[in-house]
Every structure is written in C-alpha cells, then in structure tokens.
C-alpha cells in the first residue's frame, strides 16, 4: 500500500511542497504520514467516485509549485468589491494575508499564526487526502478571532486575489475562532487575475463557541480554468448557530467538503448551496453533519441547475450518534437538468443510531414544469422570460438565506445574468 501511495504521480508532484520545518510540526507530520499511507483517492474511491480530482491534478499541475504572494494596489481591490458593501475587508494574495490593504475597523483580530492548538484540532489530519495536503504544505495560516461577548455588526469580507502561472497551486489556510456569545458574519470569494489553469486547495476551520452566531456566505465564481478544492470543518458548541451558504457559479472543477460537528445540545447547523453549471463545469458538494449530542437541529438545502455537458454531484451525509436523541435533521437536494448531456449524481445518505429522532431527506431531479411555462406564456411572457423566471424562482430559495442584503443583491445579479444568457 505504502509504495503505491507514495509512488503515485500526484504524490511525487506535490511532495516537494511539504513543509517540514517551522510551526505546526506535529500536525504536519501526521498529515504527511496519512498521505504516505493512504495516498490520494484513486478512481474507484467511494468518496471521489464521480470526481476524479487526482487524475485532473496529475494532468493539470504542470508546474506543481506555490504561486507566491504578490503586490496589488488599492484600486484593484476596490474594483472587485461589490456595490453597496459596508464592512471590513481582508485582502489575500495567493493565500497570503495583505495587512496593508486590509481594513479592520471593528472589535476582532486578524493575525498570521505560527503556533495554535486549535489549528488541526477541528479538521484533524487523516480524514481526507486534500485536507491533509493543505495541512502538510500550507504556507501561511491566518486566524480571525472574535472575543467573548463581541458582536461584530458589519460583515467582514475576505477577498482572495489569485494570480498563478499555469499549473501552480495556492493553499489558503484559515482558522476562525468565535468565542462564547459572540456574533460575526463572514463573506468570502476569490478573484482570478489571470485566466490560467491553477489549483486552489483551501482549508477553513471554524470554532463556534457556546451561544455564538456565525454566518459564512461564500461565492465561487472564478475563471473557467480553475480547479478548486475547498474544505471547511466547523465545531459547533452548546446553543450556537452556524449557517453556511455556498454559491458555485464558475470554475473548471469544484469539490466542496463541508463538515459540521454538532458537539452539544441546543446547537444548530445550517447548510445551503446553489450550483448553476454550464459548459463542462463539474461541481461536487460533499456535506457531512455529525450529530453527537441530544436536542440539536440541522437543516440542509442544496439546489442545482445544470445545462450543456456539466456534471453535478451531491453527497449529503447525516450521522446521528447513539447519544443524539431528539435530533431533528432535514436534508433536501433538488436538481433541474436542462440539456441532454448534463449529468447529476446524487446520494443523500442517512446513518442513524438513535431512535427518538426526526430525520428526513428528499431528493428530486426533473425539468421545468410544462404547465407553469404555459401559464406564464399565456400571460404574455415569451418562452425565454418564462423560463428565466421559473429558474430564478427555483434558485431564489437558496439566495434568501444570504442575510447580508448587498451581498445577496450582488449574487442575485450574477445569477440573473447567467440564467438570462447561458441557460
């Protein structure tokens, strides 16, 4: 096993990136060991069955080196901030924090860390090969901390500017620690300054301490050549609420791994997602909710519209452990296929070990309702308008969960534009 793992092409490509010295030696070593033992997922691996990321990278990483941080001016940053945004901005270039251009005006702290017990404690090494790759190789870890009792009124926007040569890698690593009864809303998206094939392998860990409210709204709308691997793992403590919204619009291949650990009673985890895919875009959303204690709630809604030769993959897992009585867990995945060559693979999975629970999942795949189309056409809309209206209504359900109005308006515009021109 060990020989096959370490001699695989992808492993040899990225091996030189592992950071042996510096901080986080212990978790880095664990991650490297796990990679050596298990290697990268092969074509048949259940978790990567429909998304052969390893193969894609073997061919795509023609220059498997880190894209280095670069300098950028204020005007470029401003140009990529959406209209009516009111809040703080954190600027990153190729995964590295640019302190000068960032604007921290509220009561929280941002720092580059070289030692922190929490890093690697939420997303432990050994679970996923690409998360391990990030842990073994990330160049800079950034921590956002919100102290106990602080309410951060205005949203904090994280913009990642990526500029990579063909076949290069960026590996953002982020740790968000929100202490007891604090509140914060985070917005995040990346901007590609070049149209090159590159690989972004991000890992975000979030700790939501007791009684806190954290919202994390993210947009993936990159160059159509980007290969994105995005892992987020969140620990949610007593009576805390965490909400994630992920909108995937453009890239070459996207794999999102989202894990929520509901660690105590009364906590709530919400996961919402929307993917609009055209061309040959491939988006894979893997979500995982782990109910470990009684009286917790999880909600999940992922929706997708697929056209051309795109492929959508959804795999939602709900685990309800034996102690997690009185759990309520809901999961739904709806898809609309608009073209002959679009493919959807979905697997809504429930694993339940406790008896006093209410868990349900639903999954549908279909087309636009002919009768609804007719109804609208009968009232004077042309077919394109009618179709656009119905598709927007379908997608709108997810957008409603973005509680930051300007960001919602920005994404709504993007969605409308895409639905109007490409679907």
């Amino acid at each position: 096993m060990m020989t096959t793992a370490t001699t695989s092409k992808l492993f040899t490509q990225v091996q030189s990136l592992f950071q042996a010295s510096g901080g986080f030696a212990s978790i880095r070593q664990q991650a490297v060991e796990s990679l050596e033992n298990q290697g990268f997922p092969v074509a048949k691996a259940e978790e990567y069955k429909f998304t052969n990321l390893s193969k894609k990278l073997e061919n795509g990483l023609t220059n498997a080196s880190f894209a280095e941080p670069f300098s950028i001016d204020q005007a470029t940053v401003d140009a990529h901030i959406f209209a009516d945004f009111d809040g703080d901005v954190l600027v990153f270039t190729n995964g590295s924090w640019n302190k000068e251009l960032s604007k921290v005006t509220q009561d929280y702290s941002v720092e580059v860390i070289s030692e922190d017990g929490l890093l690697g404690a939420i997303s432990k090494p050994g679970k996923d090969a690409f998360a391990d790759l990030n842990t073994a190789a990330f160049q800079e870890a950034i921590k956002i901390s919100v102290a106990k009792g602080k309410v951060i009124e205005k949203p904090v926007l994280l913009i990642h500017f990526n500029q990579a040569n063909e076949g290069q890698i960026v590996m953002p690593r982020l740790l968000v620690q929100v202490d007891e009864i604090a509140q914060v809303t985070l917005l995040e998206y990346a901007v590609c300054l070049d149209e090159e094939v590159y690989f972004s392998n991000a890992l975000t860990e979030v700790k939501v301490a007791a009684g806190s409210y954290v919202k994390f709204f993210r947009l993936q709308n990159q160059s159509s050549k980007a290969i994105l691997m995005d892992t987020m793992e969140t620990d949610i403590h007593r009576d805390a609420v965490f909400t994630s919204v992920k909108i995937s619009l453009a890239a070459d291949m996207i794999r999102n791994n989202l894990t929520l650990n509901l660690l105590d009673s009364g906590c709530e985890g919400n996961m919402y997602g929307l993917y609009l895919l055209n061309g040959k875009t491939h988006v894979d959303n893997h979500t995982n909710v782990d109910h470990t204690m009684p009286h917790a709630v999880s909600n999940e809604l992922y929706k997708g519209i697929l056209t051309d030769s795109s492929r959508g993959v959804f795999n939602g897992k709900i685990f309800v452990r034996q102690d997690a009585q009185k759990t309520n867990a809901f999961q739904q995945n709806n898809n609309i296929l608009l073209s002959e060559n679009a493919i959807i693979n979905t697997k809504p999975q429930l694993e339940i070990w406790a008896d006093d629970v209410k868990c349900s999942h639903g999954c549908t795949t279909g087309q636009l309702d002919e009768e609804a189309l007719f109804y609208l056409q009968a009232r004077g809309l042309d077919k394109t308008q009618a179709k656009g209206m119905l598709l927007y209504a379908f997608a709108g359900e997810v957008l409603e969960f973005i509680s930051d109005e300007p960001f919602k308006a920005h994404i709504t515009n993007l969605v409308m534009e895409r639905l109007g021109t490409q679907f």
């Binding site: 259940e46 979905t346 339940i352 006093d356 349900s360 999954c363 795949t365």
Partner: protein
C-alpha cells in the same frame, strides 16, 4: 424497568419457530472448495459437458475476485473451505411422482406448513420444495404442462430443456457479476426453473420453498424465470433453516427474463434462522436477484418481506431495457437482536418511457442495523424515465440503527426522479391517540406497524400476505419504541 423496556426485552427474547432439524441420511460432498468439487457436483447431477464448462469458467472467475466489503455489515469472514457445497437427502431411487417421495421428507415440509400432497393443498399454488442442495418434489407439474408451462427443478431443466437453459442462464446475472454470484455459478446445486410460453397466463401461483437441514453446508440455489411475450406469472419464495450455533452461507441467484408485454411478480418471505439473541449463529444471506424487462411494455415486480438471516446482503434489481417497461420494488425489512441487513434495489432505466417505483420500509429493533441501499440510474437514451422512491425507517429501542444510502445517477434531462426518506420512532401522539380510544399500547403498536407496512404487504399474494403478517406480528408484537 419501564414497560417499554420490558416489552422490548420480550421482543428480543422471542424464539425462532423453525429452529428444529431432522436427522436425515445425506449424500454429501467432502468439505471445501476446489475444481474437483465443482466437477464432483456436476458429475453427481449427471450434467452435460457445456454445463460443467460453464461452472468451471465461473469458478475461475470467482478465484480472481475479492470478497466485497462495501456493504454496511460486519461479520466474521466466511471460510469457504469449511463449507460443504453439496448435501442431498438419500433416496433409494429418483422418485417419478410425488407419491414416491420419502415420507420423512414430506413430513419436514408438513411441519413447516407446506403440504406437498396436491389434493390437500389449497388450490392455486404449485410448489417446488428444495431441501439443502436438491429439489425433493414439484407439485402440479401435469396441470401446468398442459398449458405449456415448464415448472421443475433446475437439474431437471438442464436435462430436459437444455436449449432454454443454455439460452437464458447467465443472461441477466453473468458469471462474473459479483463475488457471490460467481461462487453460486460454480457450485449451484439446484433451484427452480420456470418457463411461461407466449400468451399464457399462469393459472396458479408458483412457489419454491427452501429449507436448509444439514449442518456445515451452504445452500446455493439458482432460480431462472423466463416469461415469453404476453405471459404472466406470479412467483413466491419462502425459506427457513434450523437453529445452529455456526453461521451458514446461503448464496442464491435469481434471474428473471420478461419479454414484450410480459409480467412477472416475484414475492419473497425470507425467514432464515436469524441467530439467537446473543447474535450467535444464523444464516448469511448473500443473494443476487435481478430481472430484465427485455421487451417493450414488460413489467417486473419484486416484493420482499425480510425477517430472518443474521446478515442480509441483497438487492433485487430491474434492468428496464424495453420501452415503456415498468420495474417495482416493495420491501419490508425487519431486523432484531444482532441482525444486520443491507438491502435495497437497483433500477436501471435504459429504454424510453420506463417507469420504476421503490417502496422500502425498514424496521429495526434490539441491537440490529438496517440499511437501505438503492440505485436509480437513468441512462442517456432513457427519455421520459420516471422514478419514485420512498424509504422509511422505524426505530424501536436506542441501540439499533437505520441507514439510507440512495444513489441517484441521472444522464437524461427528461427524467423525473424523486426520492424521499424519513426516519423516526412510533410517535407518542399516535400512541396517545389510540390509548385515548381504549386501544392498549401493545395493540396500538401492532396497528401502527401494520399500517406502516401495509403498502408493501398489500402487494403480496393472498396466502403469503397472511404468512407475512403473522411473521411481522410475531417479531413486533407488543414492541414500543
């Protein structure tokens, strides 16, 4: 101990009704598996050369395969060299008719409530009785043959209808399909063969009753059902085994072929010995069942009530190849004590305007694990495919588990696919409602469970529905979640 726990305790300590065995003189193969054993079985059954070659090919394939480990079940691995692959009750000569069958064998079936005496049977069901590795008798053969229907043991079919067997054997489940199917193909000993000619509607239910009697043996039977154009048949299968401490392997293959406008209904009440309440013993039920709707407008319907077996690994599937063909799967799976079930279905839509429906009801109690694993696949050419899946789980007790693994793979934009699943226990409000109206908690549970499983039980033929309901009542009587 609260009343709930008490009732659960009672439920988990229920004895297995069919746990007895009979000392029969048997004609057995030596323990273990190798090429000689495959040849031995084939020679024993006086099979033609092509059949032996087919078996040997399967054996070669099997040797190159690995035991599957993806299922959500955990059990000590099967030692394939510790199993006897053939065991047949000794009979002086081959019985020509039912009257010549050893009365001792008849008694076994009588004790199971299966009377092989045609006069005494309820009209309307023909039975093929399989004991360990061989078929001991088939009833109503003559009545059926007048209509051109062939219903006999598999060995007989190999001798008397080699062309049909050659044509269809392995056409739905190829020898290398999976580990256990390959094993079965190499060593299968008997089973039932059923052929319904063009335009014939089979006037009675056909049935096979499987019984494992001998110790240390595995049962590997093979069933093949061929329905020609415009024909109809309803087929039933039942099974029991004695109570033993060691695990016994049952690896069967069922193949169904439905031509244009043909309809096949296949019902199973599976009640193999589930192991005792400590989880000791019991049957490993690793079965491959698949039907192909080869012709347009054909229909295959699977109904199963799974109450037995220590470990179940079974996915009755439909390949919907003909346009407008229909596949159905109705299942109630009950697990108790340490039972583990990983069961479900595959619906593969290939033809246009194909439809499928999946209704799966899982009930887990005790320390058991019950998994639904299903796949709905809509191929590129399958325009207007329609699927509806519903899988519900009911949990009784806090040490059991219910799991759902639905795979939905769509490659056609005109497909309409819906899946929904729920997991819950029996609602306290429902129990309260019944209590209020003077129905005791026990009766209320029975009522609710019965209603829960009704959608599936309704699909069973009359006589089986009664047996299934009795089985459900026996396993779940008085259980409160």
């Amino acid at each position: 101990m609260s009343k709930d726990n008490q009732i659960l305790e009672e439920l988990t300590s229920k004895e297995y009704e069919h746990g007895w065995s009979v000392a029969l003189e048997a004609d057995e193969a030596p323990l273990g598996l190798n090429e000689d054993i495959v040849r031995w079985i084939s020679a024993k059954k006086e099979e033609p050369e092509w059949m032996l070659e087919w078996r040997l090919k399967a054996f070669e394939v099997w040797k190159s395969m690995k035991e599957p480990e993806w299922a959500n079940v955990h059990y000590p691995k099967v030692d394939f060299q510790a199993i006897r692959y053939y065991s047949a009750p000794k009979q002086a000569k081959k019985p020509k008719s039912l009257d010549e069958i050893d009365p001792e064998l008849l008694q076994i079936y009588e004790r199971l409530g299966i009377n092989l005496n045609e006069q005494k049977r309820l009209q309307g069901i023909a039975v093929d009785a399989v004991l360990d590795s061989v078929s001991v008798g088939t009833t109503f053969k003559d009545t059926l043959s007048k209509l051109g229907i062939v219903f006999c043991s598999f060995s007989e079919a190999v001798q008397e209808h080699p062309d049909l067997v050659k044509k269809y054997l392995g056409s739905v489940v190829p020898v290398g399909d999976n580990y256990y199917a390959a094993l079965n193909s190499a060593v299968f000993s008997d089973g039932s063969f059923c052929y319904i000619p063009k335009g014939v509607r089979c006037p009675m239910e056909l049935s096979t009753y499987f019984r494992i009697n001998a110790a240390n043996t595995g049962q590997f039977e093979r069933t093949l059902i061929v329905a020609e154009e415009n024909s109809y048949v309803s087929y039933l299968e039942g099974c029991t085994a004695p109570q033993r401490d060691e695990n016994q392997l049952h690896a069967a293959v069922v193949e169904i072929y439905a031509d244009k406008h043909a309809e096949v209904k296949y019902s199973t009440v599976q009640n193999w010995f589930p192991g005792d309440k400590e989880g000791k013993g019991g049957i490993y039920n690793f079965v491959t069942k698949r039907g192909i709707c080869a012709g347009d407008y054909s229909k295959i319907s699977w109904t199963q009530v799974e109450t037995g077996s220590a470990v179940t690994w079974k996915y009755p599937s439909c390949i919907l190849k003909g346009d407008h063909s229909v596949g159905e799967f109705y299942s109630v799976a009950v697990t108790n004590n340490y039972q583990q079930a990983d069961t479900g279905t595959k619906m593969i839509h290939i033809g246009k305007n194909t439809r499928s429906r999946i209704v799966s009801k899982g009930i887990s109690a005790g320390k058991s694990q019950n998994s639904y694993r299903g796949q709905v696949q809509v191929m590129k050419r399958a325009d207007n495919a329609r699927n509806f899946s519903q899988c519900d789980s009911l949990l009784m007790g806090d040490k059991c588990g219910a799991h759902t693994f639905p795979y939905i793979d769509i490659q056609n934009s005109t497909a309409k696919v819906e899946h929904e699943a729920t997991t819950s226990k029996i609602g306290e409000d429902q129990l309260f409602y019944c209590n209020q109206r003077g129905i005791s908690t026990e009766d209320a549970v029975a009522l609710i469970v019965n209603g829960y499983a009704k959608e599936v039980l309704n699909q069973l033929p009359m006589e089986f529905a009664v047996e299934a309901q009795k089985l459900l009542a026996l396993t779940l009587e008085g259980s409160v979640g």
